[in-house]
């Protein structure tokens, strides 16, 4: 298994499938502590990515992610649009024009994505945002990739599992960033929608490599 342009395209298509499948669930999560649009936004965004990918296959993973970044930026809106847009853009930049991604490069691309989200949104871990999915994912990917010899699938799986655990761990938190923060203590007891969609994205990366 190599992480090449074909994998990236498959990944992004699986993201779109995941968003369509979990659209209602993400809307429900956002309904509880936000404004009921996250699932709709993500679904709309990734459908647009699929449409874009249909117009011509990118030559490198980086190109695929850049196209995704630009599309999400222009189709998602809300907080998630610019945050995911920046994440995919920074990841694309980190990958450069390499045709294949090795485990270490992937871990660094994830770190760049996370740093982009933090740079735009100024959230810290524990603020109950998507950062709470990305940060453990970056740590897990780096740990799995450590030494450079690791299996790329193992890195993807480690990131996905950590993101999922990170999303679950947002449940008890009181939000300090994003729309949920207006609820104060009432935001506790609900999962952050952006953390949930982040976990779906990183799980799709596994699916594309499987």
């Amino acid at each position: 298994m190599v992480l090449d342009a074909a994998w990236a395209v498959k990944w992004l298509n699986l993201c779109a499938e995941a968003m369509a499948e979990h659209r209602v669930e993400l809307i429900e999560l956002d309904r509880a502590i936000g404004d009921s649009d996250h699932g709709e936004n993500m679904d709309r965004g990734f459908q647009a990515v699929v449409a874009k990918l249909g117009e011509g296959t990118p030559e490198t993973p980086g190109a695929a992610l850049k196209l995704t970044a630009m599309t999400l930026m222009s189709k998602v809106g809300g907080a998630a649009g610019p945050l995911y847009g920046t994440a995919f853009l920074r990841a694309a930049t980190s990958l450069g024009d390499s045709a294949e991604i090795d485990p270490g490069a992937w871990a660094e691309a994830l770190a760049a994505a996370r740093d982009g989200i933090v740079a735009r949104g100024k959230a810290e871990p524990g603020d109950k945002t998507m950062v709470d999915a990305w940060t453990p994912a970056v740590d897990a990917a780096r740990a799995a990739a450590d030494g450079g010899s690791a299996d790329v699938l193992a890195v993807l799986v480690a990131a996905a599992e950590a993101a999922e655990a990170g999303a679950v761990a947002t449940d008890p938190l009181v939000a300090r960033k994003g729309r949920a923060s207006y609820l104060g203590e009432r935001s506790a007891g609900h999962r952050d929608p952006g953390a949930a969609s982040s976990a779906l994205i990183l799980r799709a990366a596994v699916g594309a490599a499987a």
Partner: protein, 333 residues
């Protein structure tokens, strides 16, 4: 979900199309990407004013495009801020060379998307200043949150900054008037019922028949706390108290009182709230110099209202009184 719509996905597009048809004398609608500009934009020599945000708050913002107020409005999906690829062309379209002011309600999404658009516009040589509106006193501890939300005060910022632009103030001048309004206005809202976002198909929160939500925003999100239903005077007192405290309104102050409906509340009820608010302000020794009562910034069909108080000075009063001709606000023109 019962709505007069065809398809949740086409709500914004069809509604804006209808708006464009109904107000073809005032505005031009660009459909892809979607934004609404003043018919005569760009107005030579005038600073351009652009606002926008998620849809569902009508008449905000498209209803305020026209002489003396906004040059462009950029509607996002329902409750979803618009994207830079809409905001940028709207900004370019209304730039006459005097620069453009973005009036942005303080929500993470709005801030980020307008920020990106402003950067892109600057890269194309257009000077952009941003006025951030954050008048919602319901958000406490704003250091530990995304900050106070932009709510009712937005309408007043748009009107008054629009008048400053119309009279020929320069870019920094218009922005600083907008900021002055924002600094002097506070708002607090209540919901008697939730609203239903079309694509969600379900009420934004569940409220018992004898409960109300205090401190709501304009996105159908729950508020800070839930209390048993009270009478109108009690609710009015409850909303006004933090507004007046935060603004430190007292004897001799002159204010604009804005009682805003959230979309599903009859006008008659808004006037009952207004009546009590006037009493309370009078008791404090303040004078209500100007008033606005109606559905001006809404959350779809939500029942409830918000009360905004703006501390006036002579210049703000004069700018408030200046002619305005938009679909939703009109006088003197």
């Amino acid at each position: 979900m019962k709505k007069l719509i065809n398809d949740p996905k086409s709500v914004v597009a069809e509604s804006v199309q209808g708006f464009g048809l109904a107000h073809a004398d005032l505005v031009t609608v660009t459909e892809d990407p979607m934004y609404i500009t003043r018919k005569d934009a760009p107005v030579s020599g005038k600073v351009g004013l652009v606002s926008g945000g998620g849809s569902g708050h009508e008449p905000l913002h498209a209803g305020y495009v026209g002489k003396g107020m906004l040059d462009a409005a950029v509607p996002g999906a329902v409750f979803t801020s618009p994207t830079p690829d809409q905001i940028l062309p709207a900004t370019l379209a209304v730039n006459s060379g005097a620069g453009v002011v973005h009036i942005v309600k303080n929500y993470t999404g709005d801030v980020l998307n307008f920020e990106t658009a402003a950067e892109l516009a600057e890269a194309e040589g257009v000077s952009v200043r941003t006025v951030l509106v954050n008048d919602d006193v319901a958000v406490e501890d704003s250091l530990y949150t995304a900050g106070r939300r932009g709510v009712g005060g937005t309408v007043l910022v748009e009107k008054i900054a629009g008048a400053a632009a119309e009279r020929g103030d320069d870019l920094d001048g218009v922005a600083s008037i907008g900021e002055r309004v924002n600094a002097n206005v506070r708002t607090m809202g209540v919901a008697l019922s939730a609203c239903t976002v079309p694509h969600a198909g379900q009420s934004s929160f569940d409220l018992a028949d004898d409960e109300i939500e205090i401190g709501i925003g304009i996105h159908g999100e729950p508020g800070r706390h839930r209390i048993p239903l009270e009478n109108a005077d009690g609710i009015t007192d409850r909303l006004l108290e933090p507004v007046l405290a935060d603004l430190d309104i007292g004897s001799g102050d002159k204010v604009l009182l804005f009682v805003n409906g959230m979309g599903g509340t009859p006008q008659s009820e808004l006037y009952i709230v207004y009546r009590r608010a006037v009493q309370v302000l009078k008791d404090k020794g303040a004078t209500v110099e100007r008033s606005l009562v109606g559905n001006y910034i809404t959350a779809l069909e939500m029942q409830g209202c918000s009360i905004s108080v703006l501390r006036l000075d002579d210049e703000l009063t004069e700018l408030w009184d200046a002619p305005v001709h938009t679909a939703a606000l009109r006088w003197g023109a």
